[in-house]
């Protein structure tokens, strides 16, 4: 295993972590807004608030970790992606900023407003949409080189069916992952009404999420044949992923083992996400940038890896403590404790 592979594996793993925790977060915000709209907010509000409150800031760090790490391991990506992504990433930053700060303003600052709940719910859809565009750009065909440097062709990007299918995939995935997790969480909190509603949402979003994912593979065949061929070589990973999907839906349908159902969802997305990542290898940006020509020097790579291992030694026990105190603490989850400052 070369240093390049170690670097991209670690970063991809953290990006996967972000996809899962952020999906739960974004989806929760959307379901909260949607249930307010339907006049059913009383059912979901407490479960969602109790989950989100102590962890919202941690979610953001996964994303920061990824983009700081990619500049560290692959500095050349800062040049290509930095120049071309100014607009989409700026929009994502603004949405993330509004969402994060206003979450704190309402939860801790007592700023209560219905409009804000809707805004919060909608940012949860727009953020994955704007971030997922980066994956589309990485497929190539939207960036060209002129004498000044790389430029992004917005017209080609926004008229491509691939762009919109990836946007739709990101939305369905967010809602599906979130609903399955929250079903388990509500059930754990012994909140039957919320469990039933969230289980319904999970089942509703299951089929669209798998259809859009399949659709993208088909579209890649026309957009980037090289990538498509490599995806086909990894068919068994995608097949396993679909099997996990079927398992989740079965368990939800039978109202059984929600915790295991969520683990299956994580497994499903882990396999699909890594199969996608492996088939993307070695390109960071088709056809300009590979993990090899953009890699940092050996001294930096080694020191980053050492810091990463030391950092994990610090973080994993802390994360475990956080989960034990809030996510897996029955008293807290069931609302019997509220020791907020």
């Amino acid at each position: 295993m070369t240093l390049e592979i170690v670097g991209i594996f670690v970063l991809w793993l953290f990006l996967f972590g972000y996809v899962i925790v952020a999906s739960i977060d974004f989806g929760a915000g959307f379901f909260n807004a949607f249930s307010l709209f339907r006049g059913k907010q009383h059912i979901l509000n407490s479960v969602i608030q109790r989950y989100l409150s102590p962890v919202w800031e941690v979610t953001n760090v996964f994303l920061v970790f990824f983009f700081v790490g990619i500049v560290g391991f692959f500095p050349k990506s800062a040049y290509y992606y930095g120049t071309t992504l100014l607009v989409p990433v700026s929009i994502a930053i603004v949405l993330l900023a509004i969402r994060g700060s206003y979450y704190a303003f309402t939860t801790y600052g007592g700023l209560k407003d219905k409009r804000y709940t809707y805004l919060y719910g909608l940012t949860g859809l727009f953020i994955p949409a704007s971030l997922s565009i980066i994956l589309t750009i990485s497929e190539g065909g939207f960036v060209s080189m002129n004498d000044k440097g790389p430029v992004l062709d917005y017209w080609a990007l926004f008229t491509s069916p691939l762009t919109w299918s990836i946007v739709v995939l990101s939305l369905t995935a967010v809602l599906y992952i979130s609903a399955v997790f929250l079903t388990w969480y509500a059930n754990y909190a012994k909140d039957e009404a919320a469990t039933n509603l969230l289980r319904k949402y999970a089942l509703i979003w299951s089929v669209p999420s798998i259809i859009t994912a399949t659709g993208i593979i088909v579209e890649l065949r026309f957009h980037n044949l090289e990538h498509f061929t490599r995806i086909m070589d990894l068919w068994w990973m995608f097949a396993l992923s679909v099997l996990f999907f079927a398992g989740t839906v079965f368990l939800l349908w039978k109202r059984r083992a929600y915790g295991f159902a969520f683990l299956l969802v994580c497994g499903q997305y882990y396999l699909a996400f890594f199969a996608y990542g492996i088939s993307h290898y070695p390109y960071l940006l088709y056809p300009y940038l590979t993990i090899y020509d953009s890699f940092t020097n050996e001294a930096m790579a080694l020191s980053l890896i050492i810091v990463f291992i030391a950092g994990l030694g610090l973080l994993l026990p802390s994360l475990y403590l956080l989960l034990r105190l809030f996510l897996f603490n029955k008293d807290y989850v069931q609302g019997k404790r509220d020791n907020h400052a």
């Binding site: 102590p54 760090v61 500095p75 930095g82 603004v94 700023l111 400052a341």
Partner: protein
């Protein structure tokens, strides 16, 4: 060239983001330490007032930390979005502390969540206080790592350039560059200082607005005392920073001091205005610049005549430098008079006009932080990486930067107004008197030890 517009707007947007972020970042670094001290004093003296102080500060802190986190994310990404050439170059050399900062921040975020949601969960308050230590450490170390990157931009080292290629890279040597010790120390103590004075200002404001509760008097006393300690440390470290500049960035020192001709026994130019090449209305302290730069009144200090015009920073940094030093000195004076006044029982300490001065001290300290950063950033120009890469070569080639500037200006307006409204509502609705009554802890100490 031909990219002047993008360079200009990239600079304005970066300056805007940093100027906005630094307020929340400074508070974010300093307040956890203040909360820790208050809670510790409360436990030690068995005085519920200090515990409540810690608790109320913690509540306000969450709001500022949220804005600090999101604007920090913004500047983290803007570095790559606006300065892609710079990040591509320095990613090879100084990515390590940036990466470390993420872990420090991660650590802080996790324990802040735990700390906030475990009030009254422990029988022993000391256990709860323990949870705050990683928060304060994480916050301060975030500042340390980011400041290391900034000091690297001033005195880059840890690599060689052979035929335009970067070779012999040592990430650790790059981190421990000559600017690092003074810069890191300066950033940390000024953050503690400014946070203490901001909290003192809040306490003094409540006293002015009719509450004569001993709680606020304790708060003002504690924070002014801490503020004085950190303000004096700031002055000492500032002196070392001057000596560092004389040695490693003489053009920055010379521009800041309007020191045009290289000479021995150089005088210090205070205030004044620049008319063409002539300094007017300034106070000149003989030999003081030589003392500041080399601790020797007769030492030779390099002047601007030794540098090519295109390597000299803008001369207006003199105003920024003077404003920074004046604010630092004023805050030492104010907190010193206050403490002497408390000990000697001078009554004017309790008057309205003096309390207004303490209230002013909060925003003025933050202005001090702002001008200090403007001074160091503009003082490094025309370089983004001193001696290696010029700012105008580092910027993006994108033509959309002006629109992004408007977008972010609106964002910061929304966040600034939002956080101010939320903070003031939070504490107006739930006054100290109310909360103390709710908690039935009026029995706590009714005097404060001096």
């Amino acid at each position: 060239m031909g990219n002047e517009e993008a360079v200009f707007f990239s600079r304005v947007l970066t300056e805007l983001t940093l100027s906005f972020h630094i307020i929340y970042a400074t508070i974010g670094v300093g307040i956890p330490l203040m909360i820790m001290i208050a809670q510790w004093v409360g436990i030690k003296k068995n005085d519920e007032h200090y515990i409540l102080l810690a608790r109320r500060w913690a509540r306000g802190f969450v709001i500022t930390v949220a804005v600090g986190v999101v604007t920090g994310t913004a500047i983290g990404l803007q570095l790559s979005l606006l300065w892609p050439n710079f990040m591509e170059l320095v990613g090879h050399i100084i990515a390590l502390p940036l990466f470390m900062e993420v872990f420090a921040f991660f650590f802080e975020a996790i324990f802040l969540g735990i700390y906030l949601y475990t009030w009254d969960r422990f029988e022993d308050q000391r256990k709860h206080l323990l949870l705050l230590i990683p928060v304060a450490l994480g916050a301060s170390f975030s500042a340390v790592f980011i400041t290391i990157v900034n000091s690297f931009m001033n005195t880059p080292q840890g690599f060689d350039i052979v035929d335009g290629q970067i070779v012999n890279i040592s990430p650790v040597l790059a981190m421990f560059n000559p600017a690092m010790p003074t810069k890191v120390a300066h950033v940390l103590v000024t953050a503690y200082m400014a946070s203490a004075f901001v909290l003192a200002a809040i306490g003094a404001f409540r006293l002015l607005k009719g509450s004569n509760h001993i709680y606020h008097k304790k708060a003002v006393f504690l924070t002014m005392k801490l503020g004085l300690i950190f303000a004096i440390s700031t002055a000492l470290i500032g002196d070392f920073a001057g000596k560092f500049l004389a040695e490693y960035q003489p053009e920055k020192l010379a521009a800041a001091e309007w020191h045009f001709e290289t000479e021995e026994g150089a005088p210090l130019v205070l205030y004044g205005v620049l008319d063409e090449e002539e300094v007017k209305h300034a106070i000149r302290i003989p030999y003081a610049l030589s003392i500041l730069a080399y601790s020797n009144p007769f030492a030779e200090v390099t002047g601007l005549d030794q540098f090519a015009d295109e390597d000299i920073p803008p001369l207006y940094i003199h105003y920024l430098f003077d404003a920074m030093v004046t604010i630092g000195m004023a805050m030492i004076g104010l907190s010193f008079i206050y403490l002497i006044g408390i000990w000697r029982k001078w009554t004017f300490i309790e008057t309205n006009w003096f309390r207004w001065l303490i209230v002013l001290g909060g925003p003025i300290s933050l202005i001090g932080i702002e001008v200090g950063w403007w001074f160091t950033e503009v003082g490094r120009q025309p370089w983004i990486l001193r001696g290696i890469m010029r700012t105008h070569d580092a910027a993006t080639t994108s033509g959309q930067v002006d629109k992004m500037l408007i977008l972010f200006a609106c964002l910061y307006l929304v966040l600034g107004v939002g956080s101010a409204v939320v903070l003031s509502r939070m504490f107006k609705k739930n006054t100290v008197e109310q909360e103390l009554a709710d908690r039935k802890i009026e029995k706590a100490g009714d005097s404060f030890d001096t």
